[in-house]
């Protein structure tokens, strides 16, 4: 019989030999010197873990996990024109990537065509420029849409881009029922963190629910929303805040859909998630495990979901962009590998690994290949994919999982008390909590209490330059000309009629997806449909809290 933890710490643990005064996680949570069975007192395996594939899915959403099927290797890509990005897609697929993920440029994301004055300087820079159906067709030229699953990161203009993707598939004779993929379409986290919006929260969520409803009926393999913590973390949140605000957003969407009269089991199986993988290895694994358990309990208890698929939190993960350094960028390969490993041990379904040069520019072909190879090495060389939840039962990991769950549950309780996530966002609650955490972290970094290798410790006198990808200035001019030419060439009467139908649906509350789908088919543009949102729903302005 061993002595108790407190006694052991008192008599056996050499406190005076500690390297640091405080041991904390990246999220500033105290880490104990020892985790033992005492940390799991009153703990039930069935209630807390369950076997893999069984409620509450802490150990994974599938029984055999990566023994059955590896996670989807899905590198986020997009730059320049549709043709440029199409080539990158084909390169990635040829090198063994198993799914596509599209990055759009800022004008596309914010609802401006390439020929709009507000697009000046931004076309094709942070992603690919897509203004109309012709661009979407070029983007996915020669890509078998019925075989590859595609993810599209777009939010306030998601309805338009998804309609374009569906229209491209229809033109190729592929029924919507055969399309698999995900559109991010998580507007709530836009107001919290990523800050790409057109209209205020209420009408924005209405469009999200329109898409959930439409996809449940017409495109049942499609994930119409990817509830995203990634950007919340990038904005500077802690791991528990990322977990809490993401689940709170998920609760917000489910509630909005249920309020509309949808049966929870009709749409919940197609909700997906997106989490960040930051530097703190065990904290990240605990976060993913807690996320699954909390979602399963929430769906069953709060919403009465019955289908097992409604209870499982399936997630994409991406390594943390904000953890990368411009200094000694090759070191980023190591950071990414360790973060990716946390994602795999945490049981992700899909993974993007960042490229080493992303603090300098969009990734070059060489660096994106290293990033993809990192996943392939983890999958096929390290042996970790042979195990299902190998860390399950670790005193430390289970204690961390319980702790982050408790912290996140407390946030969700506070948000409930405010009247739900939309009200909390209007009050600025998650935004202010994140800003506090972000500033606290920066201060710790500036004081040297936290280490970023190459930035505030182990710096080099001179940084060796690395090759980066440059986006040419001619892309903007060419793309703007292309948009103008398409607008000239299309059937003006059909466009007018189609835009009128979108406007009517926006005003009368009927589902926006059918008229938007009809509109993109006659080449109405992202900007034109977004203008209707601006008119009918109003424009949201940044409250600009410091």
């Amino acid at each position: 019989m061993s002595t108790g933890k407190a006694d052991w710490l008192e008599t056996n643990y050499p406190k005076q030999a500690d390297r640091l005064e405080r041991y904390t996680s990246l999220s500033d949570v105290e880490v104990d010197p020892l985790y033992s069975d005492e940390d799991l007192s009153g703990w039930s395996y069935e209630e807390k873990l369950g076997h893999p594939g069984q409620f509450p899915f802490t150990r994974g959403v599938h029984a055999s996990m990566f023994r059955g099927k590896l996670w989807t290797m899905r590198q986020f890509a997009g730059f320049g024109t549709a043709e440029d990005t199409n080539q990158r897609f084909k390169f990635l697929l040829a090198e063994g990537q198993t799914g596509l993920s599209t990055a759009f440029d800022m004008p596309t994301l914010m609802g401006y065509d390439a020929d709009h004055p507000r697009a000046l300087g931004e076309v094709g820079r942070e992603g690919v420029a897509v203004s109309s159906l012709a661009d979407m067709e070029a983007l996915f030229a020669d890509v078998p849409l019925d075989e590859v699953t595609t993810s599209m990161t777009v939010n306030c203009t998601a309805s338009v881009l998804l309609a374009m993707y569906f229209a491209v598939a229809e033109r190729r004779g592929i029924p919507l029922t055969k399309l698999g993929g995900t559109i991010q379409n998580d507007m709530l986290k836009e107001f919290i963190a990523q800050k790409e919006w057109i209209s205020p929260p209420e009408p924005s969520v209405r469009v999200v629910v329109d898409m959930m409803e439409f996809c449940a009926k017409e495109a049942p393999r499609w994930h119409p929303v990817s509830i995203s913590g990634y950007h919340i973390r990038e904005a500077g949140s802690t791991a528990a805040q990322e977990l809490a605000f993401t689940l709170a957003d998920g609760i917000g969407y489910v509630q909005a859909a249920v309020d509309r009269g949808l049966d929870v089991d009709s749409f919940a199986p197609r909700l997906s998630f997106f989490f960040n993988l930051h530097n703190d290895f065990f904290e990240e694994i605990a976060k993913l495990r807690a996320a699954r358990r909390m979602w399963a309990n929430t769906m069953r208890e709060r919403f009465g979901a019955k289908s097992p698929k409604s209870l499982t939190l399936r997630t994409h993960c991406q390594t943390a962009g904000c953890s990368l350094t411009a200094q000694q960028p090759v070191n980023n390969v190591v950071r990414v590998a360790i973060q990716a490993l946390a994602g795999v041990l945490g049981g992700t379904q899909s993974l993007h690994t960042n490229s080493m040069d992303e603090t300098l520019a969009l990734p070059s072909e060489e660096s994106v290949l290293v990033a993809l190879r990192t996943q392939q090495i983890i999958a096929e060389e390290t042996g970790v994919a042979n195990f299902v939840d190998p860390l399950g039962g670790s005193y430390a990991v289970e204690a961390l999982t319980d702790k982050i769950e408790a912290e996140a549950a407390d946030y969700i309780r506070r948000i409930d008390e405010m009247g739900g996530i939309i009200r909390a966002i209007e009050l600025g609650f998650p935004q202010k909590e994140i800003a506090e955490a972000s500033y606290r972290f920066q201060q710790q970094l500036d004081r040297g209490e936290r280490v970023m290798v190459g930035v505030n410790k182990y710096q080099l006198e001179t940084e060796p330059p690395i090759e980066i990808m440059r986006i040419g200035n001619d892309i903007e001019r060419k793309q703007a000309e292309r948009v103008r030419a398409r607008k000239q060439a299309r059937d003006a009467a059909a466009v007018k009629l189609a835009l009128g139908n979108v406007r009517r649906a926006a005003s009368d509350g009927s589902n926006l997806m059918p008229p938007i789908l009809a509109a993109v088919k006659v080449e109405c543009t992202v900007g034109e449909i977004s203008d209707i949102f601006r008119d009918c729903f109003g424009v949201y302005h940044d409250p600009a809290w410091i």
Binding site: L120, A235, L362, A544
Partner: protein
């Protein structure tokens, strides 16, 4: 010290369409903690809006934060808009994902300094103290 009479007034501005405001908000708070008077524009500002805010708020300097890659278009556009309003004496500096060769070009155009990822807030505050004099009334 050159500005012991009154605190410096700094406009922290986000030109363009990207929503990455983590850096802008951190530097705005760091400036405030350093004793400067800080005005934050919020997101999605045009060069005209930023120049107008500089006039309205009578600032000594503008810190531009941009992570969308549009700096070679939008930073010079802010300079032009300030020139139209005869605000050439307002110091402009910036931060974001800006490649080294672009920094050289932007400095030639009149951007006083560019801070890239990894810059400590106290480095930026110290640079402002050393390089931004209060403008003549």
């Amino acid at each position: 010290m050159s500005h012991e009479d009154r605190p410096l007034r700094i406009l922290v501005a986000k030109p363009g369409l990207d929503g990455h405001d983590r850096g802008a908000k951190i530097i705005a708070r760091a400036f405030r903690d350093a004793g400067f008077e800080v005005i934050y524009t919020g997101l999605h500002q045009t060069p005209e809006m930023i120049a107008e805010a500089a006039v309205q708020e009578d600032v000594d300097a503008i810190g531009l934060s941009l992570l969308s890659g549009a700096h070679m278009t939008l930073f010079p556009a802010v300079i032009d808009e300030l020139r139209k309003r005869e605000l050439e004496d307002v110091a402009i500096f910036g931060g974001g994902i800006v490649p080294a060769e672009d920094i050289v070009e932007l400095k030639k155009l009149g951007i006083r300094e560019i801070f890239t990822p990894g810059a400590a807030t106290d480095t930026i505050v110290a640079w402002v103290r050393a390089n931004v004099p209060p403008r003549e009334a």
